[in-house]
Symmetry: C2
Subunit: 357 residues, 2 copies
């Protein structure tokens, strides 16, 4: 294992310490329990947004803490869910008096712990709701997931809901918006190489010299198919068509219902993308793929979208949700409307995302 | 070779096409000769800044074309100097009537071709000057270089001079500023893995499972020493101390003298860093190292600077000057003053760098 780390067990702590040392004007960090929060939190009268999950996907989530995005982030150990204790502690620090929205990627550990944190927060008088992101079209049910995994749309939901919170949306409006972003987004990824979890020290999976894993999960979970290495154009086509040809996706998820004061099953449907739709195209590096290659992928993503009648009106290209040093990329297409575009364009200032300020 | 590319010979062109497809509001591209330029160029009455060099270091330089940074970028093939023809063509397109500053990394091919381009531009009535960046303390004279190589300080010079041009500095003032940034900056890098040049298809150099190359060049040129894998803290210490302990560095470089209408030898000296100096600390990914690891390096860079009495008042952490998918990082320390800090903080809007707008 070759990494710029000290002891594997110190990876998460030291990386966060470095991030805070670099951005003391933007974020603060607490350890035991571990969470990162906006240096100016709590923002009175603003709904606070908290996300979190296993580490190893940086800059998500801690790199997105700041004005216009997250109020708090709860990093677990690498590829390991954070605890309800972390989520509750973060909520208490960032609560501006009008509630907390937890944005949760659909992995069983994350879901369980954020549900618990939602209940704990409410029991302590902090109004909290949690919304699930489950946008990965590659597979249904996976190593750590019931249903679809939560991937690239998480980044977009954090940006869009962060802007909305800044603009005064109340908690229920934000939950509705986040749910709408989730059912408007679809993603799929590909791995050229495995990542190496620091504590393990060996590759999570084995790929031959000419093999790729199509539909990879962000923890190295198996995808749809192991296939021979393909050109960037072929890879982009598989990723985009898997998204575009994905049928109406229906499932039920658990959400807290404030009127019933209990968890309820909510039916969700992603309508299929249609010619004429405006979309945001997000081409994301898995960590080890440089931006030069992402642009080659984007070039073909744009071409295929054009052929499908999809109008790319916004894009995002770079390393936002990674799998340590894995080589590969993911593509997310998010259906847009005027409201979401307006929120997307709003200013943001975090360690890894700074626009307009 | 596993990359997200199509034919190796199309790597540069397709990557640029993707970049322009993603950012048509910011940049335009021309092929044969190849250059990228600001969509709103020429900006009348503003000195235009052009840089360039071999491709494979993205986002540098094309990703830095836009308001507050570069007016043009001339990408060569991977790790291959661009031609004087490219540089001249770019100059003619972006010239706002008050001259061109070429920012040139110290590699023999780049130096020769930018000198020729400077002469060609002048012969066609476009006032042009070129300033060299030679900031890599690792080695003197290298595979492609007389003197020290030009690395991380290039990125900082492009940002700082870009801001100054926007604020109305004239050509001579900009050349003076760029020279001053160069002699205020020092860098050193380390490689954990080799990169693979697409046209070659095999690693540029071989490193054992437990080996690193300390002082690596951005084209995989040999560094100071091949050594056994070390902890992030040890690596950060070697990089920072190599910079901090670097003595007064004197050399002569060739610059165009407008009063003599000829090339002259200019004596340059980097004074050593001293306790009490304010610095910008730049921790850069070589392309394949994720930001989580960069923050672990930054954490120790900050600690060692503190011990040396250096005051880090600005920082930059991310992948800005890369070597394809190489794993590793570089550290640059740039001595700051009030003028440079003010220019650093100025707004910028390019495909890969967007602040304040």
């Amino acid at each position: 294992m070759k990494k710029l780390i000290n002891k594997p067990e110190d990876f998460v702590r030291e990386s966060l310490e470095g991030m805070v040392a670099a951005h003391p004007d933007l974020i603060k960090v607490n350890f035991d329990p571990t969470f990162v929060w906006r240096a100016d939190a709590p923002v009175k009268g603003k709904v606070a947004i908290i996300s979190g999950g296993g580490s190893g996907h940086e800059p998500m989530h801690a790199g997105f803490v700041g004005m216009g995005m997250l109020d708090g982030a709860c990093p677990g150990q690498v590829f390991t869910s954070p605890t309800p204790e972390q989520m509750l502690a973060a909520a208490k620090v960032v609560d501006g008096g009008v509630g907390i929205l937890y944005i949760v990627k659909n992995y069983s550990g994350d879901v369980m712990n954020f549900e618990m944190a939602t209940e704990l927060a409410r029991s302590e008088g902090v109004r909290a709701l949690s919304i699930l992101i489950d946008d990965d079209v590659a597979v249904k049910n996976s190593l750590y997931t019931q249903g679809r995994r939560g991937v690239g749309t998480t980044v977009l939901a954090e940006k869009i809901c962060g802007a909305a919170a800044e603009q005064g949306y109340d908690l229920q409006q934000l939950a509705n918006l986040c749910r709408r972003v989730n059912i408007s987004g679809r993603s799929m990824g590909v791995a050229l190489t495995s990542c190496v979890v620091p504590a393990k020290g060996t590759p999570t999976f084995q790929l031959g010299e000419q093999e790729i894993e199509m539909g990879i999960g962000i923890h190295g979970e198996p995808g749809r198919e192991r296939m021979s290495l393909k050109s960037a154009n072929e890879i982009a086509e598989i990723l985009v068509l898997s998204i575009v040809e994905d049928k109406s996706y229906q499932r039920t998820v658990r959400e807290w219902d404030e009127t019933k004061n209990d968890w309820v099953e909510v039916e969700l449907t992603n309508p299929p993308l249609q010619a004429g739709d405006r979309v945001l195209a997000f081409v994301n590096s898995m960590g080890g793929t440089p931006i030069s290659e992402l642009y080659i992928i984007y070039r073909q993503v744009a071409e295929i979208c054009r052929k499908c009648g999809l109008q790319i009106v916004r894009n995002l290209i770079g390393a936002y949700i990674t799998s340590l040093e894995m080589q590969g990329c993911s593509v997310t297409l998010l259906k847009l409307d005027d409201e979401i575009i307006r929120l997307w364009d709003a200013p943001v200032k975090t360690p890894s995302w700074r626009w307009g300020i």
